[in-house]
């Protein structure tokens, strides 16, 4: 029997083509990239165990666990608030790692329930001078710089689908940078929606990137 090869396929593998899309008259107003090599673990505190979970998260990821809609970046990755007493730990994937829970299980044993969502979500990076205008077409969340500062996060719905949206440090040119986490099965459809929303500003689809 032939040896089996396990190629990972992103839900955007077939719709995602790097390069210029939409209006091309001026510099692209929106830049979009898919981020492929990440692990995402949902950490859900058990009853009465939030403070223990926060402590364990701090110990493991080196940053304070957020207690309100925020994305806290540390060396190991991003701790994303995903609901009351819930965290999503977003970390870079090492190689072909397929069991991200293993590294966390002991640390959270008895105090949290863990669920691997690394394949349940598709992660996008949206930036550029017109990123906010484009997101205003798909998101009802107020993304004004003052209202939604760097580090702010939202569990929200985009095109009737649950998603997580957060803001990271601005790009070098001062334009805002957003990350968007969407359900894998919806990613293909949502990608089309995002491209349509950004088309008038010109889009630069960037090659898939790491976290």
């Amino acid at each position: 029997m032939a040896e089996f090869v396990w190629h990972a396929v992103s839900p955007l593998q077939h719709s995602f083509t790097p390069g210029r899309m939409g209006e091309t008259a001026d510099a692209a107003g929106v830049r979009m990239a898919e981020i492929r090599n990440f692990n995402l673990v949902q950490i859900f505190a058990r009853r009465g165990q939030w403070s223990a979970v926060a402590k364990a998260a701090k110990a493991h990821f080196g940053v304070e666990a957020p207690t309100r809609p925020q994305a806290v970046s540390g060396k190991a990755g991003v701790l994303l608030w995903s609901g009351p007493d819930q965290l999503s730990a977003l970390t870079a994937r090492r190689g072909d790692e397929i069991r991200p829970l293993d590294a966390l299980r002991d640390r959270f044993a008895g105090i949290a329930s863990l669920s691997d969502q690394s394949d349940g979500r598709c992660l996008l990076r949206i930036s550029g001078a017109r990123a906010r205008d484009m997101l205003a077409k798909v998101s009802s969340v107020d993304l004004d710089a003052a209202v939604f500062p760097v580090g702010a996060a939202a569990a929200t719905a985009i095109d009737h689908t649950a998603a997580n949206l957060w803001r990271e440090a601005d790009a070098a040119d001062g334009s805002p940078v957003f990350k968007l986490l969407v359900f894998s099965s919806f990613a293909d459809s949502l990608w089309d929606t995002l491209v349509d929303a950004a088309a008038e500003y010109g889009i630069e689809v960037e090659s898939p990137a790491g976290l």
Binding site: F44, A45, R46, R47, G48, Q49, W50, V53, R68, P69, S82, G83, P84, D85, Q86, S140, V141, A154, A155, T156, A157, H160, A162
Partner: protein
Amino acid sequence: MRIACPFCGERENGEFTYLGDAKPQRPAMVALDAGVGASGEQEAFYDYVYLRDNVAGEMSEYWYHGGGCRSWLVVQRNTMTHEISSVKAAAGTGAAAVKASARS
């Protein structure tokens, strides 16, 4: 309509799903040896499942923030004006420890 989720902040009502009046209390689970066919069991469930005050005015009701943090909320809303006066989390959102008798 906009609902101020106590966890997420104010969001548009498309993110939420409505269940209904929060007043009817589900009769408690019973140990079967004591409970099977207990008199009044069906009447109590009839009341819970089917009868409604259908309040014209301030009503407390269950909404689910399914398009957000997946919390069940107790929303105090006026059915005549749609005005919302308060939004609280249901007893069992998050990880707070709740005694069986302590829930609202």
